[in-house]
Symmetry: D3
Subunit: 331 residues, 6 copies
C-alpha cells in the first residue's frame, strides 16, 4: 500500500530516508563531468511528479530491468535546490504484482466510476430506437472496450485529463443532451444520445494512460475521430440488417463533432443532432475548464474575487468566479 | 380589411383589376425614354413584396403625398415579363386610420404574442435575487419599451426575422437556459435568466420595423450591444443602492454575448453565465435557422430526403432533415 | 446514335424541327399565369446543357414517367430570347435500352481509358512490397469498384471534371510520383505509389455521374476521405496477417492527403510519403487547372498572349501561357 | 525622501545594509522545507522592481499590516544568486503620510504635467461648437476625473506605459489632429478634437496605477471603450438639450476608435472624423513605440546603426533608426 | 469637337440619329442564330460607357481596321431594352488626328494638372538633402516619365481612378506629409517627402490608360512596387556617388508602403519614415474613397442624412456624412 | 589546425587546461557585484557554441582588440554549473592569418562543394535557349558572386542552414525540376531551370555568414527577393538585345517563388514555370526539414520508431520515419 505521495515529499527534511511506490514516467542515462554514468528519472503518482537521480546505477540495490511505465519501489531521500526538490534514489526495484495500484499513480476522477457506468448503462436502456440500442449494446458488451471506456482520460492536458475523465464527460453530456432534446422537437433524442456516447470512443485507442497520459503513435497518425468511426463501422458490419441511412448519420455525428474543419472535423455538422452534439460537447468542455481554473486559482492562493490568470485553453481570457465575487460585494 | 396578398397576385390573370392595401417599402422617380417621369414602387405585405409602376404619376387618382413606410390602398392589375410579375398601378391613396393593419403588412411570428409575453413575465417572477428582479421589472414596466419588445424582429434577415421574433427567440432561450442552469451547479440561474432577457434589448432601438425591417442610423453607428448597455445602465442608475458588482456582471453579459471580438462583442465571456448565454443564444439561432431552411426547402418542392442548398448563414453548409430522411429509408 | 449535340443547336434556325437524345439533368413543374402547368427541363449532353420547355405536358406524345437522370429522345425546335436559346419540346420519350450511350451525354476524358487502366495495372505490378501489392490487387479485382474507378470524374467542377477524370489524374500522378521517389532516397516508392492509387478512391462513392456530376447524400455527409478509408479498411480486414503498422500508414496517407485541416484532412502529413503525396496531388491538380484555363481562354477567342480572366480555383489570380506569349515577342 | 533606487541596488556589495522606501507590488507567504513560513515580496519604484525575502516574518521589526500597494520603509541588504539580485529584508514598516511620494515609485512622463494640462485646456477653449465645448468642460471640471486624467498611464505595458502617459498621448494627438483637420475640408475639426480628448477617457477606470500598473476587475470585464462611453453618456444626460445626433456621433467615435472589430471596437469608423481618429491614434501609438524601442536599444548598448530586436508590439518586426544609421554612412 | 456624351444618350428618343466620337473599350465578333456575324462594342467617354451593336459589319460605311483603344466617329441611334440602352451603329470610322481629344474620353481630375505639377515641383525644390534632391530631379526631368506621371490614374477602380489621379493623390500626400513631419521630430522630412513622390511611381508602367484603365501584362506579372523600385534603382545607378545607405532606405520605403505582406508589400515598414508613408498613403486613399462615396450617394439621390450603401473598398461598411447629418438635426 | 571542438569540451574534466581556436559570436561587458568588469563571450565552431567568461579582462594575456566575428585562440578550462558548461578563459588573442579556417567554425554541407558546382555548371550548359544561357553565364562568371553562391547557407535557421546550403538546395532542385519538366509538356524546361538557379540568388547579399549566420541590415530592409531581382536586372541590362518578355518572366519567377503574398512574395505564380518553381522549392525544403528532424531525433537518442517532437518549421506537427518504423513491426 502506498502511503507517501509526491506532495508529501516537499515537506520532508533533507537526508530523511523514506520508502514508497511510484510510476516511472521517464528514464534517461547521462554522464557526469568525470565521465561516470548516472540516471535521471521522472517519478510520478496521482498527486504530481518529481525528478529523481540515481548516482550509482551499478549498485546491486538498483534494478537494471526497469523502464518507462513500470511501477517501482524506491528508497531514498529528498534534496533541495533553490525551491525545487529532487529524490536521491538509494534503492530501487520493480513492484511485485499486487504491491502497488495504478489508480494511485495517475490523477483520477473524484466521481464513483461504477455509478457513472450505471448512468451510461441507463442511458443506453432508455433508447427506444432498436437499431441504435443494439449498436450501443454490441459495442459496450465488449469487455476490453468497456474496461478502457471506464479508465480513459478525455484528454492529455486540457479538460477532464484524469482517469475516468472520458466517462465523466460523457455522463455529464448525457444529462445535458436530454435537457436539450426535450427543448427542441426537431431533435431525435435517441440519435443525439447515441452520438454523445460514441463521439469520443476513439480516444480509448488514441490515448495511452498506463504510463502517464500520452498519445499512441497510431493515435497521432489517425486521430480519435477516425479511430472511433472505424470501431463503430466494424461493429455495425457485424449487425445484420443495420439500416444504411442510420449508419451514415451515426458516422456523420462522430466525424463532425468538432464543429469546424480547422478543429480536425473533416465535415461540418449538417443534421440537427450533429449540431446539437457539437454545441453540448464544446460547452461542457468549456464549463469544466472554467471549474478547473477556479479550483486551480484557489489552490494557488488567489482570493475568491480575483480574476484568474490568462487561460490558454480559453483563448487567453481571464475568468471570474461569479458567486465568489458577488458574495464579497462591499467587503 | 386586407384579403388580397402579394402571394395571391402571382396567380391573377393579366389585366384583371384588383384592390388591396400594401406597405410602401421604396419609392423612386425615374424618366422614360421620351422624358416622361414615372414611379417605381416596392409594395409589400406579410407574404412578400412585388415591384409596382405608376406610369401616370400626374393622374389625379394617384396621391402625391405618400412615401416609404406609408400604408396605401392600390387599384391596379398584374403584368408579367418572363417569369416576374409587376403591379401596374392605376389608383393609389394613403390608407385611412384603421383601414389597414401593420400586422398584415410584415411577416409575423406564428406564436401568440400575449402568451409569449406571459412566459417572459413568469420568468421575471421566478427570479429570486431581489436586485435582478427589480431591474427587470423596472425595465419591462416602461410601456413603450414593452410594446417595442413585443413587436421587434430579432434580425433584419437572418434568424427570427419577423414581428415578435425577438420575443419568440428570448422565450425559447428562457426554456433552454433553465435546463442548462439546472445541469451546472456553477451557474447562477437568476443571473443567466437576466442575461437572456436583456442581451438583445438594444434591438428595440437598433432595428426599425414600421416600414419594412431595417436598421436605424443610430443603430448602425452604435449597435444593439451598446444601445442595450445604455438602456440597462440608465435603468440601474434610477434604482437606489443597486450593487455595483452586480451591475458590472449584467453589463458584461450583454457586452460579451456574441462570444468573439470579430462578431462585434468587445469582450469575451469571462464568467460562467456569460459563457452559457453565448452558447444558448448561438445554438438557438442556429436551430431556428435549420428549421427555417427545412421549411423553405419544403416550400420549394424539394423531397424530404434531399439536402438543402448551401446555407449562407451556416457557413455555406448543406443541411439534411434527419427525421424525414430516415423515414424514407429503403424507399 | 446521337448526331445532334447541344452545341449544334445554337446554330439552328428557329422553328426548324430536330430529333436527338439527351440526358435529363433537372425537371420541374411550374404554372403559367393562366394556371396551366408546364415543365421546365434541363437537357444535357457531353457538349453542354440547355433549358427546355414542355408547354403541353398532357399531350400523349410527352412521356409521363421520365425524370432526372433519364436518357430521353426529344423532338422539338429552338427558340431564342435575347442571346439565350431554349428547346421547345413537342415529343419526348425515354430512350430504349441501347438507343443512346451515356458516354455521349457527359464530358469525358480525351484519353483512352483502356490504356490508362493498363498503366494503372502496370504500376500495381511494379510494386515490390508483397502486402501493398496484395492490398491493391484485392481492391482493383472487385469488378464493380474497378468499373467505377474507370468512369468516375475527379470532381464535380474543379480539376478533371469529366468521365475518366479520376483515372486520368491518378495515372498522371503515378508518373510524377515515380520521378519524385527516384529523387529522394528518403521516400519508400511502393508506399507512395499505393497512396497515389488509393488517395481519392472514396470518390467512387462520394460522386455520382450517371445523371450529371453530383455528390451523393452519403458523400456530402461523410466525404471521400472517410469513404476511401472505409473501403481500404474493409479490404485489409479481409487480408490475413496484413501488418498493423503498414495499415496505419496507408490510412494516414489517405486521411492527410489534402495537406491542411481547413482543406478537410483531419491530419497533417507526418511521414515523408504523405508529404510527397500531398505535394504531387496538389501540383498536378493545379497544372491541370492551368491547362484547362488556357484551353478555355483560347475557346473564348482571347489572343495567345493575353492574360486569362481571374481563375476562381487558383485564388483569383490571372494566368499567362508562357510559350504562347514568348512566341509573340516583338509582334 | 527617497535617495536609493532599485537600479542602484544592483551595484551594492552583499551584506551592506541600506534603508529606502518602496512600493509593495506583490506579497506572498511560503513555507521553507523545515515548515517555517517566510515572505516573498516584489518591491518596486520608478526605476524597476526586485524580489525581496523576509525570512523572519514573526520578528517584531517586521510590520504585520502591510500588503500590495503599500508604500513601505525597508532596511535590508542585497544578496546575489548567479546574476540575479534579491533584497534580504530585516526591518519593514509602512511609510508614514508624507514620508514617501508615489511619483517616485512608478515610471512617470518626462513632460511637465501642468504644461500638458494647459495644452489640453487650450484645445477645449479652441472649440467653436458650443455643445461640444460644454460637454468637455462639464467632464473635465469634475475634480476627481481631472486628477485621474492627469495621472493615468495609457497602457499597462505597450505605448505610454507611465504616469501621465494618457495625457501625454492625448496632447500629442491634439497637435496631430489639428494638422490633419487643416488638410481635409471634409473633417469637422471640433468633432475630431472632441474625439481625441474623449477616446481613451475610460482608461481612468479601466487601469489602476496606485499599486503598479494593472487592470481593475471592472476594467477587464467591461473595457475602457464601454467605460468611456458610459462616462460620456452620463455627462450628456446632465446637459440640457444636448443634440441627439451629436451625442450619437461622439459615442460612435469612442466605440470605433480601435478601427477593427478584432481589436475590440464593436463598430468600424463610419464618419470621416472617426476614421481620422483611428488613424492618428494608431499612428501616434506606433511612433511612440518606435521611439521607445530606439531608447531601449541604446540603453542596452546597441550601436546606433544596428537593427533593434523583434518588436512584439509591432508584429515582430525589427526597426532601424534612420538618422543614426545615415549619420554613420561609410564609417 | 465632342458635344454628345454617353450620359446624354440615355435621354434620346429611339430611332433619332446622332453623331459623336467615342473610345472603343472592347470589340468582339459574334454570330446571330442565322449564322450572320455582327459586332459587339463597348463605347466610352469620360462620362461612362454603353454597349453598341454593328449588325452589318460588312457595310462599306463601317471601318474594318479599328479596334480596342481607337477613337472612332460613330453615327447611330439609341435602342432600349427594359431599362438598358444600346447604340445601334450605322456608320463608324476611325477619328482623324486632332478630331477628338483623349481627355474627353476618360474620366479626368477636376484639378488643374499644371498647378498640381507646380506643387510637386515646389516640393522637390524644398528638399534640403542634396542626394535626395538630385535623385528626384533626375527622375522627373525624364520627359516621357513626367508626361506619364501627369496623366496616370492612381488605380483602375478604387481611389483616384481618373486621369491625373496619381498626381492628385501625391500632391495631397505632400501636404499631409509636411504636417506630419512637422509634428514628429523623429521623422526626416526630406526622406518622407521623397517616399511620397516615389512610392507609386511604378504605376506609370503598371497601368495603361490610353484605352480605358487597365493593367499591362508586365504590370500584372511584376506589380507597381517592383516596377517603381526598378525605375528608382536604374536612376540611382546613373548618379555618381549616391550613398549606399540612402539608396537602401528609399527602396525600403517603396517596398513597404502597403504596410502588410498580405497587401503585397514584401517588407513591413521598419523605419519611421516608412511607417509614416504607409499611414498617410492609406489614410488619404480612404478619405478620398469616403469623399467619392458621398458624391456618388448624392448623385444617386439619397438624402444628405442617409447612410451610404455598403462600401466594398472600406470593408463593406456604410458611411455617414457628418456635416450633412448634423445640419439636419431636428428636421 | 583545430583539433578540439565545442562538442569535445563537454567531456573534459574541470580545471584541465586546453588550447583551441574559436569564432567569437558575441561579446558583452558586464560588472560583478563588487563592481569589477568582466566579459561574457559566445564562442563557436562548426559543432556548436558555448558561453565563455573572461574574469580578468585587464590581464595582458587577454587581447583588447577582438570582437564579434573574429577568429581567436583561447587558453582556458571548462567549468560546470548544474548541467551547463562554461569556458573560463585565461588567455585570448586573435588568430593569425592562416592559423585557423573559417570552414571549421561554421556548420558546413557534407557534400563536396566542387562537385555540386560542377552539377550547377552542367545544368547551365544544358540550357538550349540562348538568352537564358547567356544570362546565367554572365551572372555566374562574376567571381565574387560565384564565391558567395558556393558558400552561402540557404537560411539562418530553417532548412539547409549551413555553409554551402544554398548550392546544395539548388542542385537538389535542379534534379527535381528536370524530372517535373519531363512530366509536363506545358512546362518550358529551360525557363524552369533558370528559375531554380536564380530564385534565391539574393541570399548571397541578404545573409552574412562570416561571423555566424545572420541577416545584413540591407537584407532585413529589402529582402532576398528584391536583392535577387536587382542582381538579375542589372545583369540583363548589360546584355545587348535581351528580349523584354523573357526578362519579365524571369523576374516574375523570382518575385513569386514564395507562392503567397503572406509569405513575402508580392505576386502569385501566374505562369506554369513559376507555379512549378514554387512547388519544387517548397517541397524540397520540407523534405530536407524532415530529414534533419529524423537526424536530430536519432542524435537525441530517440528510438527509430518514436515520433519526433513537434516541429516548429512544419506547423508544429510531429513526424515519423516510415522505414525505421516499419522495420520494427512486431518488435
Amino acid at each position: 500500500m502506498k502511503d507517501i505521495y509526491i506532495t508529501d515529499l516537499a515537506g520532508f527534511d533533507e537526508e530523511r530516508p523514506f520508502n514508497s511506490f511510484f510510476l516511472v514516467l521517464a528514464k534517461q542515462q547521462r554522464t557526469t563531468k568525470q565521465g561516470k554514468p548516472y540516471l535521471v528519472l521522472s517519478l510520478g503518482d496521482k498527486t504530481g511528479q518529481m525528478e529523481g537521480r540515481v548516482w550509482e546505477p551499478g549498485d546491486p540495490r538498483i534494478a537494471k530491468d526497469f523502464g518507462r511505465g513500470d511501477l517501482v519501489k524506491v528508497r531514498g531521500s529528498v534534496s533541495r535546490f533553490d525551491d525545487r526538490c529532487q529524490v536521491k534514489v538509494e534503492q530501487l526495484r520493480k513492484a511485485l504484482e499486487g504491491e502497488a495500484d495504478l489508480k494511485d499513480m495517475l490523477p483520477c476522477t473524484t466521481r464513483d466510476i461504477d455509478e457513472l457506468w450505471r448512468q451510461l448503462d441507463a442511458a443506453v436502456e432508455s433508447i427506444v430506437h432498436p437499431d441504435l440500442k443494439r449498436l450501443l449494446k454490441a459495442l459496450l458488451s465488449d469487455a476490453s472496450l468497456a474496461k478502457a471506456y471506464r479508465e480513459a482520460p478525455a484528454a492529455r492536458q486540457l479538460h477532464h485529463a484524469w482517469l475516468g475523465g472520458l466517462l465523466e464527460h460523457v455522463v455529464s453530456l448525457l444529462g445535458l443532451a436530454d435537457r436539450v432534446a426535450a427543448h427542441y422537437p426537431l431533435l431525435d433524442r435517441d440519435l443525439l444520445v447515441t452520438g454523445v456516447i460514441l463521439h469520443d470512443i476513439g480516444k480509448v485507442h488514441e490515448l495511452t494512460w498506463e504510463t502517464g497520459f500520452d498519445y499512441s503513435v497510431e493515435g497521432v497518425l489517425l486521430g480519435h475521430i477516425q479511430m472511433g468511426v472505424d470501431l463503430v463501422e466494424k461493429t455495425i458490419a457485424g449487425l445484420p440488417d443495420f439500416p444504411e441511412r442510420l449508419r451514415t448519420l451515426v458516422l456523420h455525428m462522430i466525424l463532425s463533432h468538432h464543429g469546424k474543419l480547422e478543429f480536425g472535423s473533416p465535415k461540418l455538422p449538417m443534421i440537427p443532432e450533429a449540431l446539437a452534439l457539437n454545441f453540448v460537447d464544446d460547452f461542457d468542455a468549456k464549463m469544466q475548464a472554467m471549474t478547473s481554473e477556479f479550483e486551480r486559482s484557489a489552490r494557488e492562493g488567489k482570493a475568491a474575487d480575483e480574476l484568474t490568470g490568462k487561460v490558454w485553453a480559453l483563448d487567453q481570457r481571464q475568468l471570474l468566479n461569479t458567486k465568489a465575487w458577488l458574495s464579497r460585494e462591499g467587503k
